[in-house]
C-alpha cells in the first residue's frame, strides 16, 4: 500500500515501507518548461527535511528540488540525467529523481495529500 504526499515546493513523495520515491509534480514541470539538465544527489547522502537535494535547469530557469522528508539517499534515477525530457513527459512516474530512506515517518504529516495539493495549486493560478 503506497501513498503519495506533496510539498508546497511541488515535490511529490511516494511512500512504500520506509522508502520514499521523490520527484516534481506535473504542475512544476509545466511551469519550468523543457528541462535540460538534472543534477542528482549522491547515493548515501544524508539530508534533513527541506535540504536541497537536486538542481534542475530548464530553458526558463534553474530550480532546486528539496527533500520532502529527512533521510538517506538509497537510489537515484540516472535516466533523468541522460534524458531530462523524461521529467516533462512523465513527471509523476518515470521522471522520478531519487529514493530516500525515511528517517522519521512523522515528517510525512507535514505534507499535503493529493486533494490538498490540488487545492493549493488552484490557489496559485
Amino acid at each position: 500500500m503506497s501513498e503519495t504526499k506533496y510539498t508546497e515546493d511541488h515535490e511529490w513523495i511516494r511512500v512504500e515501507g520506509d522508502v520514499g520515491t521523490v520527484g516534481i509534480t506535473d504542475y512544476a514541470q509545466g511551469q519550468l518548461g523543457d528541462i535540460v539538465f538534472v543534477e542528482l544527489p549522491d547515493v548515501g547522502k544524508e539530508l534533513d527535511q527541506g535540504d536541497e537535494a537536486c538542481v534542475i535547469d530548464s530553458v526558463k530557469a534553474a530550480a532546486e528540488v528539496y527533500a520532502p522528508v529527512g533521510g538517506e539517499i538509497v537510489e537515484t534515477n540516472d535516466s533523468v540525467t541522460d534524458k531530462p525530457g523524461v521529467v516533462n513527459e512523465d513527471a509523476m512516474g518515470e521522471g522520478w529523481f531519487f529514493k530516500i530512506k525515511i528517517a522519521d515517518p512523522a515528517e510525512l504529516d507535514d505534507l499535503m495529500d493529493e486533494e490538498a495539493y490540488k487545492a493549493f495549486v488552484e490557489g496559485l493560478a
Binding site: D34, V36, A62
Partner: protein, 512 residues
C-alpha cells in the same frame, strides 16, 4: 533545395518570402553567410609572411604534423564576413534595447574618442610608473568621482565586472571578519536577487540563506530580522531591487545587520536609477560594486569588457585588494605590495583593471557633470514609469505603484490566450525590437522586465509602447499563431533552445 553550404536556400515555411527560391540562398540584400571555415582557399592569407626557415626544433618529436585547419581568407573576405554577420545582429546603435536588468544604454561617441587617445590606448601595464602618470591620475580622479557619488571613502578599481566586484566585496568582508577573529557562516540574500549574489556567497565559502519577499515585492524586514544572528557575515541586497522597486526599509536593514555584527553588501547593478540622488554611504552600506558598463555607459554585451569597481566603507577600506593608486604631492603611484596600515586581502587581477573602461566612464561623468548624472537617474526612472503607465490598461503589473528604472509586467494579461511570455517576446522580434528580459525576476510569474534607460527619446518610447500595445491587443483578440509561430521575419525562425541545451554541438567539423 540546398545552397552551396548544404543549407536550405529557400526561406522556411511561413516566413517572409516563403516559396521564393534564389540560386545563392541570399534573400535580396540579406546574405546567407557561410562560416569563415567554409570559405576561402588553402594557403591564402591577408598578410605576406616570409617562408619559415628550416631549423632544428627541440620539441622531441611532438611537432604538429597535421593541418591547423584555419580558413585561408583574404582581407576583403574577412571584412565582408564580419560586416555581413554584424548586419544580422541587433545593437543599441540600431534601436531600443529594452533588456531589463542589463541597462543597455547609449555609448556616447565622445567616450570612444577619448579612449582611443594614444596616451591611454597604447599603454602597456608594465611601463615604468613615471611614464603613465596621466593614466594613474585618471584612475585617481575616477575613484574620486565614485567616492563622492557613493559617499564611501575607498574604491577598489580592479574588479573586471559586476560579479567580480561582488567577489571583491565579500572577500573584503571576510578579511575584515577574520582580522577580528570572527568566523561567520551565513550570508543572507533576498529571493529576488541576481543569481550572482548567492553564487558569490557560496564561492566565498558561506552558506546562502534566502530572505523572503513581501507581497509588494520588497524584502520582508521581519523575516530578515529573525534570520539574523552572530553567525551572519553579511546581507546582500540590490537597491533598487530586481523588481525595479526601491527598498524603502534599507536603513533598518543596515542598522539591524550592523547591530548583529555583520556587514552590508549592496549590489550596485541598479545604481543608474539613483546616481546623483542617493549616496549609498548615507544608507549604511559597507560595500557596493558599481557596473561602469551600466551606470556609466561603457559598452558591454559583446561590445566591450565590463568593469566593476567596489566602493568600501571606512571599516572595510584597509582590506581593499592590491593594487591601488595613491597621490604623493603632484605624483601618482600604483601600490603593488602591502605597506603602512593596509591589510589587503590579495589581488583580483594581474594588473590594475579595465583602463579603457575607466577612460570612458570618467568621460561620461565629466561630460554630464554632477547635475547631469542626477538627471540621468531621473530620466531613466521617468522613462520606465511612462511605459508602465502607458501600458497599464493592456498589460498587467505584479506590484502596485510607481517603479524605479524598470517596468515589470507579469503574464496575467496573457491568461487564456494560449500565448506565453516566450511567444510574446519572439513576436517583438517581428516588430523590429530586441525582446525584453523574460522569466526574470523569478519571483514574478512569466515576468517581462523592460528597462528603457535615459537613452530613449519620447518618440522612440511611444513607438515601442505602440508595438507592445498592438501585440497585447492581438494576443487578446485570439491571433495566437502570430505569437506561437514567431518570429516570421527574422533571418531564422524560432530556434530550438531545448535541443541546443540538451545536445549542444560545440565544435564545427568539415562536411564529409
Amino acid at each position: 533545395m540546398l545552397n552551396r553550404q548544404g543549407r536550405p536556400s529557400a526561406p522556411e515555411a511561413g516566413s517572409a518570402g516563403a516559396g521564393f527560391t534564389t540560386w545563392t540562398g541570399h534573400r535580396g540584400l540579406a546574405h546567407e553567410e557561410p562560416l569563415s571555415f567554409e570559405q576561402g582557399a588553402k594557403g591564402r592569407t591577408a598578410v605576406d609572411l616570409p617562408e619559415i626557415p628550416k631549423v632544428a626544433d627541440r620539441l622531441g618529436g611532438l611537432a604538429r604534423e597535421g593541418e591547423i585547419g584555419l580558413p585561408g581568407l583574404s582581407e576583403p573576405q574577412v571584412v565582408r564576413h564580419f560586416v555581413r554577420l554584424s548586419r544580422q545582429n541587433y545593437a543599441i546603435d540600431l534601436g531600443v534595447y529594452p533588456l531589463g536588468s542589463c541597462t543597455m544604454k547609449h555609448n556616447p561617441r565622445l567616450n570612444e574618442k577619448l579612449a582611443r587617445l594614444p596616451g591611454f590606448a597604447d599603454l602597456h601595464p608594465m611601463q615604468p610608473m613615471a611614464t603613465i602618470q596621466g593614466a594613474l591620475e585618471l584612475m585617481a580622479q575616477l575613484g574620486g568621482w565614485l567616492s563622492k557619488l557613493t559617499n564611501m571613502p575607498a574604491i577598489a578599481m580592479s574588479p573586471a565586472a559586476g560579479a567580480h566586484g561582488e567577489l571583491c566585496g565579500l572577500l573584503t568582508i571576510r578579511a575584515a571578519l577574520e582580522a577580528r577573529g570572527d568566523k561567520r557562516k551565513r550570508v543572507l540574500v533576498p529571493e529576488s536577487a541576481h543569481g550572482t549574489n548567492p553564487a558569490t556567497a557560496a564561492f566565498c565559502g558561506y552558506t546562502v540563506d534566502p530572505i523572503p519577499a513581501t507581497a509588494d515585492g520588497r524584502v520582508d524586514l521581519e523575516a530578515f530580522r529573525k534570520k539574523l544572528g552572530s553567525d551572519v557575515a553579511a546581507v546582500m541586497l540590490t537597491n533598487p531591487n530586481t523588481c525595479g522597486l526601491f527598498e524603502r526599509e534599507i536603513i533598518e536593514v543596515a542598522d539591524a545587520i550592523h547591530a548583529a555584527g555583520g556587514f552590508f553588501y549592496c549590489d550596485g547593478a541598479n545604481f543608474n536609477a539613483i546616481v546623483g540622488r542617493v549616496r549609498p554611504g548615507d544608507l549604511g552600506i559597507d560595500a557596493m560594486h558599481i557596473n561602469l558598463h551600466k551606470t556609466f555607459s561603457t559598452p558591454h554585451g559583446g561590445g566591450g569588457p565590463g568593469s566593476g569597481p567596489v566602493a568600501l566603507s571606512a571599516a572595510l577600506a584597509p582590506y581593499a585588494p592590491l593594487p591601488y593608486v595613491v597621490q604623493e604631492g603632484d605624483k601618482f603611484r600604483l601600490v603593488e605590495e602591502t605597506e603602512g596600515e593596509a591589510k589587503p586581502f590579495g589581488r583580483l587581477k594581474g594588473f590594475h583593471g579595465q583602463m579603457g573602461m575607466f577612460v570612458r566612464a570618467l568621460t561620461y561623468m565629466m561630460s554630464h557633470g554632477g547635475d547631469g548624472l542626477k538627471q540621468v537617474a531621473e530620466d531613466a526612472v521617468l522613462s520606465a514609469n511612462y511605459i508602465m503607465a502607458a501600458l497599464g490598461d493592456v498589460m498587467t503589473a505584479p506590484f502596485e505603484g510607481p517603479c524605479m528604472h524598470e517596468a515589470l509586467f507579469d503574464d496575467r494579461f496573457l491568461k487564456g490566450t494560449g500565448v506565453t511570455t516566450l511567444d510574446f517576446a519572439k513576436a517583438m522580434i517581428d516588430e523590429g525590437y530586441h525582446p525584453m528580459t523574460m522569466y526574470f525576476p523569478l519571483v514574478v510569474h512569466g515576468a517581462l522586465l523592460i528597462e528603457p534607460t535615459e537613452t530613449e527619446s519620447k518618440e522612440a518610447l511611444d513607438e515601442f509602447i505602440g508595438a507592445l500595445r498592438h501585440l497585447a491587443e492581438r494576443a487578446k483578440a485570439g491571433d495566437t499563431a502570430r505569437f506561437t509561430g514567431a518570429p516570421y521575419l527574422a533571418p531564422r525562425r524560432r530556434l530550438d533552445e531545448t535541443a541546443a541545451a540538451r545536445q549542444p554541438v560545440l565544435r564545427w567539423t568539415p562536411a564529409q
